[in-house]
Amino acid sequence: MSESRQPEAPEDDWREQYWKRNLRLMVGLLVVWFAVSFGAGILFVEQLNEIVIADFPLGFWFAQQGAIYTFVVLILIYALRMDRLDAEFGVDERDAEGKRL
């Protein structure tokens, strides 16, 4: 939990921290997004095609299979990590009984 947030900390301090952590997560995931699709699938496809795994040239596999699977996982990681971040900063949405929406 956030020990840094003392009661005397300025009112808006948490906003900056929350947003910074959100952006850091987002940028990290977008780097992976770019690396698998544009990196492995397009820019370095010829080099990676020299490697053949389970009959698939690796660059070709990233372009037609691997990138798609990675995208799905990236969104899942984002949703799960944001759940934790929201709860930590108390900005998660809850109904009248305190259940998560």
């Binding site: 699709s37 596999w61 799905v72 949703a79 900063f89 108390g90 949405e93």
Partner: protein
């Protein structure tokens, strides 16, 4: 009536009856239900609805065939039409859901100005119309090919069904119908794919087993005068593959009929998980399509290539009747194969038949062929319905109420106008579907470039850069649109085939988006910042909850802690 016609009729009638029944069960009485399904759709269901909305007749029928003939370069569609969901989930969906309005133009109208709202509403209607005409046409072709109805009759029947459930149920009816349509289309896609993988490789999971035909496919392709299948950049140069993929990705994230789906979830968190479920469901089809493409090409080259024209397999004969498979009358043995009739190859195979002919090629029984036809219809109808809703909501909500009635209207009047706009949109779509303007096929592909150059930068800046103001957004959006459209028109019509730095008209949207970003930033910086209260609204978009719970370590349990107003002020 042949066995195939019989089973097609059965599957189409049953699936249509289910759609109508669902629409009747979920009919709505208030505008929130009509436009955003009362924001009460569970995330998994919403994900399935997004997937059905997204995957059009083109994804279902044409994509695998396109990949079969493009080889590696088909990856532009595979990555381009899935990678956009990462951008959507991380950059747009949760924030737009927090803003909580009915339409995309409504967000830019509130965030920027009425002028930007009008540009956005116009762009949303234009993009959606070019799209919906293609869907109507696709649905009509399935009807005419499998049931021997005239295309016009097929289009009219498909439109009547969509009209019934869209007008009755609005977004709620459309969403639940799309869940059913996703189920139909994915089952119809996967069964023949698994069967064909089993037949060719002896292992039923196509995503894994299509690797084993690649080496042979490369050898066969070269033998028949085609490019090596896994060799990159045979159809487009590397820079163009990069730019087209990027343009399709950011275009996807900027398409109004996709974004609007994230307004229907219960919460901001629901919007994030909806994006996950949507892409998971989409990836089932998109990871299968390249396998189907490779198997189909292997089948054609291995089964047809080199055989005498008189001894071709049965499926060639049965599809020759449709005009989509053409055997050159002068050919004695098949020595060259193409997907373009102008090439004059011994055998010409249209992209569109690969998926539809797959069950026959794999020797599956007639009921499976009927199921595939129903799947193609589901793909066309679900996308058309989502697009019609965008047209109707943009016309009634953004133009009629905001501009003409200045926001003064009763609930029942709003609902009536929404339904009338939907009816008008259906009528125009039917006319367009029966007599498609010649440029439609091209325009659909370019709608992505225009979406990329207009909506995406404006939305991202509106969310992530508080300083971005109305003048900047209007200038950026206009500059992006004008730049992109000019290049497309120049490269396609004025000086056909000419490009700058090998950038095709499909890829120019990426540059258009950069132009939009640059102009918006420069103009915003050199004009006055947006008002304080608006910046605070944008700030609030960042935090999912309306009120913040006190989470200081001192408080014993979270739920008993007093609530503090979000943002303090």
């Amino acid at each position: 009536m042949s066995a195939i016609q019989f089973w097609t009729t059965i599957f189409i009638v049953i699936s249509f009856a289910v759609y109508i029944y669902i629409a009747w069960r979920s009919r709505v009485k208030e505008t929130a239900g009509f436009y955003v399904a009362g924001q009460g759709i569970p995330t998994v269901a919403n994900g399935a609805a997004v997937a059905a909305d997204w995957m059009s007749a083109a994804s279902f029928i044409s994509m695998a065939g396109l990949i079969a003939f493009l080889g590696y370069d088909g990856a532009i569609y595979l990555m381009g039409w899935t990678g956009g969901y990462v951008l959507l989930a991380l950059l747009l969906a949760p924030y737009l859901r927090k803003w909580g309005k009915f339409t995309v133009p409504e967000f830019v109208g509130d965030r920027y100005s009425e002028l930007v709202r009008t540009i956005a509403a116009g762009a949303a209607i234009l993009i959606s119309f070019t799209y919906v005409v293609g869907q109507m046409r696709g649905g009509g072709i399935v009807f005419s090919r499998f049931l021997n109805l005239p295309v016009a009759g097929g289009v009219a029947v498909a439109a009547a069904i969509i009209f019934t459930y869209a007008v009755l149920g609005g977004m709620k009816g459309i969403t639940w119908t799309q869940v059913a349509q996703y189920t139909v289309l994915i089952v119809a896609y996967l069964i023949p794919a698994f069967a064909i993988a089993q037949t060719i490789t002896g292992f039923p999971i196509p995503q894994i087993s299509f690797g084993s035909v690649l080496a042979e496919l490369n050898a066969l392709s070269i033998e028949f005068g085609l490019d090596s299948y896994t060799e990159p950049f045979t159809a487009r140069p590397q820079i163009d593959v990069f730019l087209v993929t990027m343009s399709l990705m950011i275009g996807t994230a900027g398409l109004p009929h996709v974004i609007i789906r994230f307004y229907t979830t219960k919460s901001v968190r629901g919007a994030r998980y909806s994006a996950f479920w949507a892409l998971l469901f989409i990836s089932l089809l998109y990871s299968t399509a390249p396998a189907v493409g490779a198997f189909a090409k292997f089948n054609i080259l291995d089964g047809v290539g080199g055989t005498a024209a008189t001894e071709l397999p049965d499926w060639v004969d049965s599809w020759e009747a449709t005009g989509l498979v053409i055997v050159n009358p002068e050919a004695e043995t098949i020595e060259s194969i193409s997907n373009n009739p102008d090439d004059g190859a011994d055998l010409t195979v249209d992209n569109d038949i690969l998926v539809l002919a797959n069950p026959e090629i794999a020797g599956l029984p007639a009921p499976v062929v009927g199921l595939v036809a129903a799947g193609g219809m589901a793909a066309a109808m679900s996308t058309a319905a989502g697009l019609l809703l965008v047209i109707s909501s943009s016309a009634s909500h953004d133009f009629y109420f905001r501009r003409i009635k200045k926001g003064h209207a009763s609930e029942s009047e709003k609902l009536l106008v929404g339904r009338l706009a939907m009816a008008g949109a259906v009528v125009i779509a039917v006319i367009g579907g029966i007599n498609p303007p010649a440029f439609v096929a091209q325009v659909v592909a370019f709608a992505f470039g225009l979406g990329a150059a207009s909506f995406f930068p404006t939305l991202v800046l509106g969310i992530f850069w508080k300083r971005c103001n109305a003048k900047g957004a209007a200038a950026g959006m206009s500059a992006g649109l004008v730049f992109t459209a000019t290049y497309m028109i120049w490269s396609l019509y004025i000086s056909p085939g000419s490009t700058v730095f090998d950038i095709s008209p499909e890829g120019i949207g990426t540059i258009g988006a950069l132009v939009n970003f640059a102009v918006a930033i420069i103009v915003s910086k050199s004009t006055e910042p947006p008002p304080e209260d608006l910046m605070e609204l944008v700030e609030n978009m960042r935090y999912p909850a309306v009120t913040r719970r006190d989470v200081r370590p001192a408080s014993p349990t979270k739920d008993q802690a007093p609530n503090t107003e979000l943002g303090g002020a």
